[in-house]
């Protein structure tokens, strides 16, 4: 075990898998010699050579298309899209091709690709370095969407994603790369190293896709979150004293519906938190599923704590970001009835 931050844990996953499987190729903008703008692919070119980890033209569509072709051939490419805000030029490739190839060809071809995508806010990145587009992918039949919240999960989930024979979008909450963040911008930076989930084995291990993690058990309300919001929610729970059960979804496709339903039936209350803007966000799906499956157990309206329905605004980062106080307010509203 070594204390790793999230970047190191992801790097360790890539390194371990590349070492094991020559069919794994890594490419993307600046991932080669430089090791990626967030350093997740650091040293991989040096270690595995130019043809196994290399830079690409600035062409997200081209990156994904190339990966699909390689995947159809029999390789297992792992590509990086530099920021989630820039994944849209590849959207058609992901939706119309990667997600549909197995189905439409009746298994003749498939796309065992992993698309790593730094996403989310909290870094003063303004409109185009902060967005959380996971809802756009969750709606796409044929894609899996995974979102880790800590170094241990990041490594185990990335390994599962790489080994998965279906296309996986792997959203990395970039605000968590180098330290914990609880939605309190004025707090001192909390390094990962003292966190229990920063204890990461050097070797390969897997966390199955579709299994949520109960971060904290509780009986007053179920809080559903993923990515950075897991820590925001935990901090909110700790602050306000409500005995909330916090579930880190870890992947939104496949979704651990059983864990969610079991918990909400028990607590009778539910708060959903995500960074993305609210309308049409993934919180809507979660709310609908909970409502459909727990209707008779619900004692208060399901609450959504999300980004506002505006673009992600640079100077208003902390007005926009759904911080702990807003999670507390929502939890409290569920308790008032």
């Amino acid at each position: 075990m070594t204390a790793m931050n999230m970047v190191q844990a992801l790097n360790s996953a890539l390194d371990g898998k590349m070492n094991e499987d020559p069919d794994i190729l890594i490419f993307g903008e600046d991932v080669g010699y430089f090791g990626g703008v967030f350093r997740v692919t650091d040293k991989l070119q040096e270690k595995y050579g130019l043809t196994r980890c290399f830079d690409t033209p600035i062409s997200e569509g081209g990156i994904v298309a190339t990966a699909i072709g390689m995947g159809a051939y029999g390789l297992r490419p792992v590509v990086e899209i530099q920021f989630a805000d820039y994944i849209l030029p590849a959207f058609d490739q992901l939706v119309s091709e990667a997600a549909r190839l197995r189905y439409r060809s009746n298994g003749d071809f498939w796309a065992p690709i992993t698309v790593r995508v730094p996403y989310g806010g909290g870094i003063f990145g303004g409109q185009t370095h902060s967005q959380s587009p996971e809802a756009l992918f969750a709606h796409v039949v044929g894609l899996k969407s995974v979102i880790p919240s800590n170094p241990y999960d990041a490594k185990g989930l990335l390994i599962s994603a790489i080994e998965d024979d279906d296309p996986v979008i792997f959203f990395e909450p970039k605000r968590l790369y180098n330290g914990l963040f609880e939605g309190r911008p004025d707090d001192a930076v909390k390094p990962w190293k003292n966190h229990p989930l920063a204890d990461v084995p050097e070797e390969i291990y897997r966390i199955p896709l579709g299994k949520a993690r109960t971060v904290r058990e509780g009986s007053d309300v179920t809080v559903l979150a993923y990515g950075t919001m897991v820590h925001v929610a935990l901090s909110a729970i700790e602050e306000c004293g409500i005995d909330a059960e916090l579930i880190d979804l870890r992947s939104i496709v496949p979704l651990d519906i059983d864990a969610i339903v079991e918990s909400v039936r028990r607590t009778g209350r539910c708060v959903i938190a995500h960074e993305a803007s609210r309308y049409g966000g993934f919180g809507g799906e979660l709310s609908a599923l909970v409502q459909e499956r727990c209707f008779y157990h619900l004692r208060a309206p399901i609450e959504r704590v999300t980004g506002w329905d505006t673009p992600y605004p640079h100077a208003f980062e902390w007005d926009y970001f759904p911080g702990p106080q807003r999670v507390i307010d929502a939890m409290q509203r569920t308790q008032e009835v």
């Binding site: 190729l25 043809t51 690409t56 033209p57 062409s59 569509g61 081209g62 994904v64 298309a65 190339t66 990966a67 699909i68 072709g69 390689m70 995947g71 159809a72 051939y73 029999g74 390789l75 490419p77 030029p89 058609d92 490739q93 119309s96 091709e97 549909r100 190839l101 197995r102 189905y103 439409r104 060809s105 009746n106 298994g107 003749d108 071809f109 498939w110 039949v141 044929g142 899996k144 998965d164 024979d165 279906d166 579709g210 496709v253 496949p254 519906i257």
Partner: protein, 409 residues
């Protein structure tokens, strides 16, 4: 301030519309045998004139002339002819089947049969083509079972794609034929990725990608070409310029300003412009690109100049937007006629032989379609509904399982 004129918006128009005489004077031609044939390993910088010429082998009499003449045995040509003839007949029958309501949709490749047939026979078994919907003759040349084609088209119980795809959007891995989709251009980059994978593995499989001339305007085509230029994988990228994209003439895709082969110059790869109705020229150019690829010199772009002789699809009526008889006026003729004529000139076939071949093709096509029809046409027979829920993922998740249960399968 010299030379200023009032600005105005220019919109290209074709040389003729319904009621006009067909006019192909704007199509840049060159006589058979005229275009030079450089060595396959020639640096790109010495090939920059190639996209503006036209590689042709068969002359007006059906003789093979010039430096591109490939050395092909008669049985190779006959196999090609057989595939082309069957494609033409199959297309006609299926188009009719569509009119009779036996299938929801159909697309013919009439006039363009030489392309898939010549390239299918030129490339190897382990090579992979990334086709459009007009490359049926590739499968015919590799003897893909015509009954299976019919089953796919009728979406019947034996449909190899389990009823999931519209007619003609085949997939046939074992025949070197990648899955087609309705989306234009989005598989060209897969061809490049495939070829990069092959190079990475030190394999000798090459990839062949196709787009129509209209589709060259899509961003993903540029992205594929960019990757092909940068990483030099063993891939052949083809533009089938059949002059039309549904109702839009090739000028709407930029074909009035330069050739589609000239797009190669933007990526520093060779661009060949080839008579797409000339089986021999297609073979020769494809083989040139293949040799270059296998010499580790990377990608080639090939424009195949041809003509869409029929409607865009069963939903289309070309008499609404182009002159009648354009196909008759097309200066590069009919690919089947031209190959037949060549075989006759060579002395490898007589008119009688051809009639026999044709009738044999007809018989085989008819028998296959009958077989498929016997299994069922659209709506009369279909795969089990459970196929709807399968292979969304390798393993279904709870959504497919629950929903399949809800439907009762």
């Amino acid at each position: 301030m010299k030379n200023r004129t009032e600005l105005s918006l220019y919109v290209p128009e074709p040389s003729g519309r319904p009621g006009d005489e067909p006019d192909f004077s704007n199509v840049a031609l060159q006589d058979a045998g005229e275009q030079r044939c450089p060595d396959t390993l020639t640096p790109e910088i010495e090939l920059r004139d190639m996209p503006y010429g036209l590689i042709r082998v068969l002359d007006d009499e059906g003789k093979a002339v010039g430096p591109w003449t490939p050395d092909l045995p008669a049985d190779h040509l006959l196999r090609g002819l057989d595939a082309m003839v069957r494609t033409r007949i199959f297309d006609d029958r299926m188009f009719r089947a569509n009119r009779q309501g036996k299938t929801s949709f159909y697309m013919k490749s009439s006039g363009e049969e030489a392309i898939g047939a010549a390239q299918s026979l030129c490339l190897g078994e382990r090579d992979m083509c990334f086709p459009t919907y007009r490359i049926l003759s590739w499968l015919m040349a590799r003897d893909y079972p015509m009954t299976a084609l019919g089953n796919q088209i009728f979406s019947n119980a034996e449909d190899p794609l389990k009823g999931r795809q519209m007619p003609v959007l085949y997939s046939a891995r074992d025949y070197g034929f990648y899955s087609i989709s309705g989306n234009l251009g989005s598989r060209l980059g897969h061809a490049v990725g495939w070829a990069m994978a092959s190079a990475y593995r030190h394999d000798d499989s090459i990839a062949l990608g196709y787009v129509g001339e209209g589709t060259t305007a899509e961003g993903n085509v540029h992205e594929a070409l960019t990757f092909a230029g940068v990483y030099r994988p063993p891939v052949i990228l083809c533009v089938t310029n059949n002059q039309w994209a549904i109702s839009s003439f090739s000028g709407i895709a930029g074909g009035n300003r330069t050739t589609f082969a000239a797009k190669a110059l933007a990526y520093g790869i060779p661009g060949l412009r080839v008579d797409g109705n000339d089986f021999l020229a297609i073979h020769a150019a494809t083989n040139w690109a293949r040799e270059r690829a296998l010499g580790n010199k990377g990608a080639t772009l090939i424009e195949l100049v041809t003509y869409r002789a029929s409607a865009h699809s069963s939903s289309d009526d070309p008499t609404r937007y182009r002159p009648k008889n354009e196909d008759k006026a097309w200066p590069l003729g009919d690919p089947i006629e031209r190959l037949k004529q060549h075989l006759i000139v060579r002395g490898d076939m007589t008119e009688d032989d051809y009639r026999e071949l044709y009738e044999d093709c007809e018989k085989r096509v008819r028998a296959s379609i009958r077989e498929a029809e016997a299994i069922g046409t659209l709506g009369q027979s279909k795969p089990s509904v459970k196929a709807m829920f399968e292979q969304v993922f390798k393993e279904p998740d709870w959504r497919q399982i629950e929903q399949r249960r809800e439907v009762g399968y």
